[in-house]
Amino acid sequence: MAMKVYYDLMSQPSRAVVMFLKVTKIPYQACPVALRKGEHMTAEFAKINPVKRVPVIDDGGFLLTESIAILKYLCTKHQLADHWYPSNLKQRARIDEYLEWQHLNTRMFASMVFRAKVIDPRMSGNPMDERKFDRFKGDLSKTLDAIEKVYLKDTAYLHSNNISIADILGICELMQPFGAGVDVTNGRPVLKAWMKRVKEALQPHFDDAHTFLYRVEDQFGIPSKSRL
């Protein structure tokens, strides 16, 4: 029985897991959960994940949440190519460093920018809070500086010379601001080159996973800067 994957492509970590499964050709049964319809809040879904979030996997009865835990588990279980999550302790520690740091940096600010421009106005019916949006854009900018100066300082990929699960998660998070009309690569050639490199390595699965985001850009009349 194939592993079940509960996800919503609206969510960056869900996107990362689904895209990774397609790229590595791990078989799975797709179980989409519509967050916008509140499907994750049902009692039925709580049985699968008491934390009521996506993504979640059910691998033959073994339930696992948290996209990073899931990505690591898949790498080890399926004995994927070492570069995805290196077995060398120090190289692995470097990937872990990014995966942890990104929670309160890349993920937080990229999400806030998108939320302020796209989600909050839609849910409240009020116009966007400009000050909030500008503040989050500022925080995101500092994060992007840090990524260029530290995680991409000496390496073609995040803290590594080869693509890894850090890049899978990183690119999904950094795509999100495009949905709010924010081009994270503007004035950042190192980041731009990395995004191009990672996208190309993941096509056509990259475009598949981001179809909804491209639609958001179109709906809001935002120029499709994210598309190569």
């Binding site: 949440t65 690591k72 588990y73 460093e97 740091w101």
Partner: protein, 213 residues
Amino acid sequence: MGIDFYYIAGSTPCRSVLMTCKAAGVELNLKGVDLQNGEQKEAAFTKINPMQLVPAIDDNGFRMGESRAIMGYICGKYAPDSPLYPKDLQKRATVDEMMYFDIGHFGKSIGDYVLPQVFRKQPADKEKESAMKEALDKLDRVLDKKQYATGNALTVADFCLATSLTLADAVPVQYNLKPWNNVATWFQRMKNLPYFTECNKAYYEFAKKMTSK
């Protein structure tokens, strides 16, 4: 030579690493970083951790930050057979799961509620309290019929969750955990660990100092 550990005593992620090392029997050379006076932004510390954050380690030239990544590295190198960060695939995945539940959800919601009250003397925010209560509900469900967060063995995930919870336990909040019976029982079990007080008292003292000013 040992591992140089750059930290401040009250910091939640620093305390998680301290507890891990006590449990694993790993010696640390403690090096306090004067965050209040901006030592983390100076060139010397930036060489240790370009992110200018604590905790950070220098293990004979190998330098890194981020507490959970550090805990994984230390266990991997110095206590590879310890159940603290187990080798078994599913057990390890569950530990990872709970560590990330803490950083993005559990610990975050507690910090969001408590820290403005401690650092900025702001009144308690009902909405943030609601988010914290929801996170407590979730941990309570996870802990059902378990001694620790991932089962019957103490792991690094328990250190992350417990150090986060100390924020709500200390003044000024001193949150009543009785409605969450599993959480309350587990937290007391953590407090009974022989190194808990030593590793965490600095935060309780810090919170007292901030609140009495």
